[in-house]
């Protein structure tokens, strides 16, 4: 697998939606330790509509497809999740509006743009215990493979999933500094961040979808 096709992107997004719906209660539970317990509902609200409208989504290009996903999320999801996840999909999609296949180099740029957009929207940095603590290491793995067209995207997916899983344990001891979790201060120490767990769970499910062996994770709830 050298190139990523529109069909691959569709498979990944469909998998992400299924993960969000399947884990609605679990993600809320994680959010209740230090947040306000609505993360699972917020995410599921958006991705439920993605599933409902699935057959009618714009498939003229990878970019248009991702922009449509962004629009559904931004329009329908409130809280912090709507702007954050919507901005991520929007920034990634804006870079490939004319493309029906992308390379790992493109994916690298898309992830970088999504991360930059999310940082600008929410003001978080690496280490603030947000989903960026999973997204940035994922992007770093993809970035390592830029300019190496011989690399199999499946191997990159597996390594990226591993760092996402590692981010769960790696950030547990940090203090949450953004979103509503920030108000819990030191009490957020020792609990996993729901956004990071969601990204990791989605990555593991995407692996399964593409027949890639999933690295061990202590947090998936499938």
């Amino acid at each position: 697998m050298k190139e990523i096709t529109l069909a691959d992107v569709e498979t990944a997004v469909k998998s992400i939606a299924a993960t969000a719906l399947k884990n609605e209660q679990y993600f809320c539970e994680l959010d209740s330790y230090a947040g306000d317990a609505d993360f699972g509902v917020s995410l599921a609200t958006g991705f439920r509509i993605v599933e409902k409208d699935w057959s009618e989504l714009d498939r003229s290009s990878i970019g248009n497809f991702l922009l449509k996903i962004s629009m559904i999320i931004t329009r329908n999801v409130g809280g912090c999740s709507g702007p954050i996840w919507g901005t991520g999909f929007m920034r990634a999609g804006a870079l490939c509006k004319e493309r029906t296949t992308i390379t790992l180099d493109d994916l690298d740029k898309m992830l970088a743009a999504a991360i930059e957009g999310i940082q600008k929207r929410g003001g978080a940095q690496l280490g603030d215990k947000t989903l960026l603590d999973a997204l940035i290491p994922i992007r770093d793995i993809v970035h390592e493979h830029v300019g190496k067209p011989e690399v199999d995207a499946r191997d990159v997916l597996q390594r990226a999933t591993q760092v996402a899983n590692d981010a769960i344990e790696g950030t547990k001891g940090l203090v949450a500094k953004r979103g509503r979790q920030q108000f819990t201060g030191d009490r957020s120490i020792g609990t996993p961040d729901p956004g990071i767990v969601a990204i990791a769970t989605m990555m593991n499910d995407i692996c399964a979808e593409f027949g890639v062996a999933t690295p061990a994770s202590s947090h998936s709830n499938n």
């Binding site: 947040g35 609505d38 509902v41 931004t74 329009r75 929207r121 953004r178 979103g179 509503r180 920030q182």
Partner: protein
């Protein structure tokens, strides 16, 4: 969970429809975007004052729509900021040549959704400004976080801006009023129990039979610390000191004092709390010019209360005393 609910997913829309049906002729309802607005709005000759924040805090903020208060509100789901589109549509619906003032409680979700909506509205040439309310002293300001939360002090900012807007104040004048009221208002709450969002079905946090959460947020966010249940007077003493020392309020200050119920505490208990708070004001030399005891900004069925002090000047006093009418009536 024992609640009056049909379908948890329809909890907020059905509540909004209820508010609309109870106020037909005075309020209108746009179900597509959760917007409750005054039937006689927008009024092109005045600034529109609007707010949209999570639901579950009623009467804040959706039941604060009415003459002398908000022109419109676009609440989100329970404890969740409204989606950007609700905010954007609410601004558009209330668009006035005089401008639109958005009063935002300081939560990241509220800020991000409104920021995006305001950017979009401005791109269309709509005159719109926002103001951030952050009166909760339980949260210490820090450069690492978004800062203090907006809680019951929100009511005073809405009341003052709503009254001034009714008198024809400009958008800039309203921003100055909001800034002044917010700078002079301080709040802190205590929870005796947790609360259960309908869609979650389980309490948002656990609190032991003999425990209280001091400095609780209105979404059940933990506060300063957990403590053993104490006498009502001792609880008031702690939050009164935290609130009064923060501004700080001084002897001779004219103040408004609010004891706000968090949803599950009866009026009798709120007045037990008010008694001690009023006695403490007298002792400190604060002159209570206006008082408020009841549910203004709740956290679903949470048992608990918050104490708010607002330092007054003549202008603010007049704005608080101006007539207003909202969806919640006592008679």
């Amino acid at each position: 969970m024992k609640k009056f609910v049909n379908d948890p997913a329809k909890f907020v829309p059905e509540m909004l429809e209820g508010i609309f049906l109870a106020n037909e002729g005075k309020l209108k309802y746009e179900p597509k975007f959760n917007i409750i607005y005054r039937a006689d709005r927008p009024n092109k000759s005045k600034v529109s004052v609007i707010q949209g924040s999570g639901s579950g805090h009623e009467p804040a903020h959706v039941m604060a729509v009415g003459p002398g208060m908000l022109d419109a509100a676009s609440p989100g789901g329970v404890f969740a900021a409204p989606p950007m589109e609700y905010c954007y549509e609410c601004i558009k619906l209330m668009n006035s040549p005089q401008g639109v003032l958005v009063l935002i409680n300081n939560y990241q979700g509220d800020r991000m959704n409104w920021d995006m909506a305001i950017e979009m509205a401005e791109a269309e040439g709509i005159k719109v400004k926002s103001f951030i309310i952050d009166d909760d002293v339980a949260v210490q300001n820090s450069s690492y976080t978004i800062g203090r939360r907006g809680v019951a002090g929100n009511f005073f900012v809405i009341k003052a801006c709503g009254a001034a807007a009714e008198r024809g104040a400009s958008l800039d004048e309203l921003l100055a009023i909001a800034t002044k009221v917010n700078a002079n208002v301080r709040s802190m709450g205590v929870a005796l129990t947790s609360c259960t969002p309908p869609a979650k079905g389980k309490p948002i946090f656990e609190l032991g039979e003999d425990e209280i959460e001091v400095g609780v947020g209105i979404h059940g966010e933990p506060g300063r610390r957990r403590d053993k249940l104490k006498s009502a007077d001792k609880i008031v003493d702690e939050i009164f000191d935290a609130v009064a020392n923060d501004l700080p309020f001084k002897s001779g200050d004219r103040v408004a004092l609010m004891i706000n119920g968090l949803g599950g505490t009866p009026p009798s208990e709120l007045y037990v709390l008010y008694r001690q708070a009023a006695l403490r004001c007298k002792k400190a030399g604060f002159n209570i010019v206006r008082n408020y005891v009841g549910n203004y900004c709740t956290s679903l069925e949470m048992a608990g209360a918050s104490l708010t002090l607002l330092k007054l000047d003549k202008d603010t006093e007049a704005l608080l005393a101006a007539p207003a009418e909202i969806a919640v009536r006592v008679f």
